[in-house]
Amino acid sequence: MHSLRDRWRRDRVLLLLALPGVTALLLFHYLPLGGNIIAFQDFQPFLGIWHSPYVGLDNFEPVLTGDPVFLNALVNTLIITLIQVVFVFPLPICLALILNATISERLKRLTQSILYMPHFLSWVIVVALFQQMFGNGGMLNAWLRSADLSTFHIVGVPELFKLMITSQVIWKDTGWSTIIFLAALSRVDPAQMEAAVVDGASAARRLWHVTLPYIRPVIVLLLILRLGDTLSVGFEQIILQQAQVGAGASEVLDTYVYNHGIVGGDWGTAAAVGLIKGMVGVALVLGANRLAHALGEQGVYAK
């Protein structure tokens, strides 16, 4: 073991390089955490954090008493979370496997570029695009109407809302999410693959016994990280489309916090709900990490 001084001498350049990042993290991530104190205050912006009166757990009332508006937001969040973890998360893995199996390097590059592009569009643009294409007055329906066919309402139908936002997420981010998996796939040892081929393993067996074990740690890592912010189901995306279907189908915890805090001025309750959401996120990360350890994976950090 080196002494602290030796380590400082050895690592000081690296430490200095890390300084700006650490400062930014402290300033913009850790310091604002202190603001969570307004969850226990009757916060009034004009009085500020220092002068707003403390009200104990009053702000947690909607959570504790099961206010229907809050429960609606919670249920919607959980459903969307489930859909996103079960259906959306595996998609980039499949896509990466397909891309990886593409022999033509040029075709692969081209496909990748096209698939990455939607990621760089902001939600405002993506939502507007969907609206222009599938909106009730959009391209599809305008065409159907002019051809005297019955129109097809997708936008503004509460029952289809979760399906619609999930499709938007898939369209926008699946391509981008393949990057890490592709990087992991490039680590697969060609010699092992060749050996498997020589041994007569079928494509499915090669996938199962060679490829997947190589990328399993990455999958587990990303899944745990995903679970951490799993309750954040796309604030911007949903708030942009909320007025089309109403709060019943579209209110999630994030929009609940926005609508009650920033729009409604009930900062305390909004902060309380946000705080609970954060705590659930932490619990999920720690729990999933523990599970990963139990299964012999490395997880986000080693034991």
């Binding site: 009034q44 912006p45 004009f46 009085l47 500020g48 508006v69 609206q131 909106g135 009730n136 007055g137 959009g138 329906n141 305008a142 109407r145 002019s146 005297d148 129109t151 309402h153 936008v155 503004g156 509460p158 942009l240 489309q241 909320q242 007025a243 089309q244 279907v245 109403g246 709060a247 019943g248 189908a249 209110e251 609508n259 009650h260 920033i262 729009v263 409604g264 001025g265 009930d266 309750t269």
Partner: protein
């Protein structure tokens, strides 16, 4: 339009209030409210000033004067203000203006004013937090624009700003002739705890307008003013042709439907929802007429006269539909009227009028929701220095110079040949002038609005006609000048839930019967308390 008063609309206000410098109606005409909160303070005496005779008179009371051409500027009515620089904090809906050094408009203003005006300003969306932090820091400029109602407003004003009552109450205001010309109802909104706390930036009382493409209605052979709910529906159906991609409305005309059922107020937001009779306050959401209006809304929605993508469409899109003729109507604040002419300059035959809400069966009295009385009021930072206060009031008085005066020309157009040129007598801003006048002096103080559309007689006439017909129908808001702490601190959050139920009903996701439990919850949580607070102030 989103009325300035409601906190929840601070974010949305941007588009509406700021865009039409010369528009808006005001005046002292609106029926006065039964309001004893302002009863014991004597409001400033009203004494109009005019620098030029209007082409269309400011009658009946409350209607703005109309001008077809810009009057040849008369001589200065007020003396320049002397003294040291005055600092100010306000908001803007426009881009940032060039700094003083490269802004001849601003330099000219300072030299005419005789006092250096130092203005700091932020976009309206950030203004609330800017004011909060400025007050918290304790380092206030001389003048601060106070927008909206915040929690513990009376205490905040008392702790931070100068009580201007002795300088402005009753005849004292006559020392500042242009301030005396500001409408009485606007002053009412500057009173808290029986004291006057600032100078109002007055706004049109015309309120929200159902903007109507008169040319499209004329082409379809329709009357510009239906006279009953039945005629209104027929008109909407006649304007709709789904196959051609045309619909009557791009937005649910809910306020119009409310007014047809005899209820005033702006929804969502619920501003102006309180009615009073004999000292008893009632929230209009609890009335059977409101339920009736909800039924009517659902009926109108089902008839297919609404643009299929109306839900959630932003203002800009709805306006674009109207301009393109995809819809025949759009709904917006009166202050935005003038901007449509610029946007529609390529639309042949474009003519815009305002439609009034008929009564249900075509008989009885029509009602109309008045607009907010002011955009903000400008308060003076706490000081005991009487001379300084007088100097600041003189500056504000100068900024309120009337249409037609040479000060007004300097305030709105700047320097002839540099920031504006004349087209006949009409001033036209130059390219540089257009950006220089973004300096938001208008949001510190300005005169009562007038109707003036350079080179467009028809536009002036149409706006004036709408005011003449609409202003006398306005039903006074009984809460004007009253302050409810519950409404200011807890109201918005409950209102937000109410609005969300309203939207679900309008979209057809929930039955009309869902309203009853929602409004009952609202009344239980805050409504009854707000009612008691208003009644106490109004009665005691």
């Amino acid at each position: 339009m989103a009325p300035t008063f409601s906190r929840r609309h601070v974010l949305a206000l941007g588009a509406a209030t700021g865009l039409a410098p010369l528009l808006g109606a005001c005046g002292d005409g609106s029926p006065s409210s039964p309001n004893s909160s302002t009863g014991s303070v004597k409001l400033p005496t009203y004494k109009p000033v005019t620098a030029a005779t209007p082409d269309l008179a400011a009658e009946p009371a409350g209607v703005s004067p109309g001008y077809f051409t810009y009057p040849t500027a008369s001589s200065a009515a007020s003396q320049p203000v002397q003294g040291e620089a005055v600092t100010a904090l306000t908001y803007t809906y426009d881009p940032i203006a060039p700094a003083l050094g490269s802004n001849p408009y601003w330099q000219n203003l300072n030299s005419k004013l005789g006092t250096e005006l130092k203005i700091a300003y932020v976009p309206s969306t950030d203004y609330k937090s800017k004011v909060a932090t400025t007050i918290a820091s304790g380092d206030l400029p001389d003048m601060v624009a106070v927008q909206g109602v915040v929690q513990q407003m009376p205490a905040m004003l008392k702790a931070t700003f100068t009580d201007l009552t002795e300088y402005l109450s009753g005849d004292a205001v006559l020392a500042y002739p242009n301030l005396a010309a500001l409408p009485t109802d606007a002053w009412r909104s500057t009173v808290y705890d029986q004291r006057i706390w600032g100078i109002p930036v007055p706004r049109a009382r015309v309120g929200t307008v159902l903007y109507t493409r008169a040319d499209l209605l004329a082409k379809a052979g329709l009357s510009l003013q239906p006279n009953s709910w039945a005629e209104f529906k027929e008109m909407a159906a006649a304007l709709t042709d789904e196959r051609a991609g045309r619909w009557a409305f791009g937005q649910i005309p809910f306020n119009t439907i409310l007014e047809m059922n005899g209820i005033t107020g702006n929804w969502p937001g619920g501003t102006g929802a309180w009615q009073a009779e004999g000292g008893v306050f009632t929230h209009s959401g609890t009335t059977p007429q409101f339920m009736q209006a909800l039924e009517n809304t659902v009926e109108l929605m089902k008839s297919g006269v609404m643009h299929p993508d109306h839900a959630g469409a932003p203002n800009t899109k709805r306006n674009a539909w109207m301009l393109a003729g995809t819809t025949a109507f759009t709904i917006g604040g009166y202050a935005g009227w003038g901007k449509f002419y610029g946007q529609a300059k390529d639309v042949p035959g474009f003519r815009l009028t305002g439609m009034l809400s008929p009564t249900r069966d075509g008989t009885g009295t029509q009602v109309r929701t008045p607009g907010p009385t002011l955009s903000s009021f400008t308060a003076v930072a706490k000081t005991d220095n009487a001379n300084r206060i007088k100097q600041i009031l003189k500056v504000l008085d100068w900024l309120c110079s009337p249409f037609g005066s040479s000060e007004y020309l300097a305030l709105r157009y700047g320097v002839e040949g540099q920031t504006f040129n004349r087209n006949g007598s009409d001033p036209t801003l130059t390219e540089g002038g257009r950006s220089q006048i973004f300096l938001p002096v208008r949001y510190l103080a300005e005169a009562s609005p007038v109707i003036y559309e350079p080179g467009n007689r028809q536009a002036v006439q149409d706006q004036h006609d709408h005011q003449v017909a609409g202003v006398p129908l306005a039903v006074a808001d009984p809460t004007l000048g009253l302050y409810s702490e519950t409404a200011a601190s807890k109201g918005a959050s409950e209102q937000q839930e109410l609005d969300s139920v309203l939207l679900e009903i309008q979209l057809g996701n929930k039955p009309v019967s869902a309203w009853q439990p929602a409004i009952t919850k609202f009344m239980d949580r805050v409504g009854n308390k707000i009612k008691a607070e208003y009644e106490e102030q109004a009665g005691g």
